[in-house]
Symmetry: C2
Subunit: 302 residues, 2 copies
Amino acid sequence: MIHIQEVVTRDGLQNEREYVPTEKKIELINRISQTGVNKIEVTSFVSPKAVPNLKDAEEVMKNIDRNPDVTYTTLIPNLKGAQRAVECEADEVNLLVSASNTHNLKNVKKTTEDTFESFKEIIDYLSDKNIALSGALGTSFGCPFEGNVPEERILDCVQKYIDLGVNRITLADTTGMATPKQVYELSSKVLDEFPNITLTLHFHNTRGMGLANVLEGIRAGVIHFDASLGGIGGCPFAPGASGNICSEDLVHMLHFMDYELNVDLDKMIETSKYLQTLLSHPLDGQIINAGKITDLHSVDGI
Amino acid sequence: MIHIQEVVTRDGLQNEREYVPTEKKIELINRISQTGVNKIEVTSFVSPKAVPNLKDAEEVMKNIDRNPDVTYTTLIPNLKGAQRAVECEADEVNLLVSASNTHNLKNVKKTTEDTFESFKEIIDYLSDKNIALSGALGTSFGCPFEGNVPEERILDCVQKYIDLGVNRITLADTTGMATPKQVYELSSKVLDEFPNITLTLHFHNTRGMGLANVLEGIRAGVIHFDASLGGIGGCPFAPGASGNICSEDLVHMLHFMDYELNVDLDKMIETSKYLQTLLSHPLDGQIINAGKITDLHSVDGI
């Protein structure tokens, strides 16, 4: 069974120019909750100044209809974020640090080491709360400043998460630098060294390799993948380039390759069409334009 | 060694709304000739009424600078097309028939069987000319009218080409319906049954699976792939969807996966940027927007 985890309302919307009204975000999440995904990254408890599009994080988190089969996770940058997540009764918090020191410094003005250190008080605070922990490792497949990030560094960072008690770990290809070969090699190595973690891969389609990367991840044994409806969530380094891998395109491919999936393809496509009504630019996804491979045409129709 | 065959000036331009002036087409082909590709589908000797963008087929074919390392091929629909190709001294002619009978009827008002029959006089005419033959099989991975096209039908059609003396055979995913699993299975079967043919795969990225399909083709043992600069060449069934797989995106992926390639990545990207100057819409390719994975950013630059 391949598990699709939806990140559109966090990683997707955070970079959108237009503000999506709170009630529309809630409606979008409620619809996603009915598609079969097992996890939704609802929002991010960051500073509203840093990410104005997610300034309504509490209101969204508190007002969605919870499906008991879905884990509602939220990204948190610090202790304050953790407190907000607890107050909103998120099911999980997602920590984030970049494997690349330069990227981490640029992102949060701390070294990778110091960010891991700062997780301790967060985890300590959460230890008696009813909330799960997951940890994402940004720039796992390359850094836009440093370039290649050595595998050893990734393995060290995974170990650091495990030492902190975090066993749900996401390798994130923050700016779309992963190649399929690299995905297979790194995922195999991480699963081999750390067989007890729950490993998620998070890809961007910045350079067109996103779906190929998923297939190589599956070949290596990974079964959890993040994706964003409509493929939104572009990166500031690559204006005009694609964003996150597109949920419905991914589900479409896996569905027609006969993988067992937790997601209903038609519901996913419908939900992406709803997302399209909330944004004024065309989505990156292919399927909402091209239709499914089973959507046949009439001979007289062209 | 993986061989990239460039189809932008035929499959790409044929569906463009804007007419690209003859001298610009020639300049584009001359630049492509220097990228390392071993084959260029220069044009199509069809009726100018059917494909107005290629009405200058003779003038283009006669005025390009020939690189002796490149095979200059042209698509021909009938005997007249073959005569035009011979007159222009094309290195190769490319025949085309759809495996799906419905698609073939719609496309050329003949059954698949009758089209194969019509190839005989073409091949007879060409038998004493210094020109190579290749044959493409449209809708090899699915038909937009019929849906699934049985593998047996594909194998029969390949056999028909071989019986006619055509040993360079292209399986074309005319409207972007192939899944990676299907590509692996069908390519394996064709190579297994017909080990002496030169097999090319021709994919469209209509549903986002194009690059993943190439990787599964390679895994099955295929080493020749068609691609179109900028990913142009969209299909009339899917307005807004992607066209052919994008040459520079494909070369970028394979280059950074350490495949031995016949093409220089930087020259390919440069040539795609030139193509962009000839068209008034943005190209589908990702790399010309996002840059290569080795194009790093300055820490102060953002």
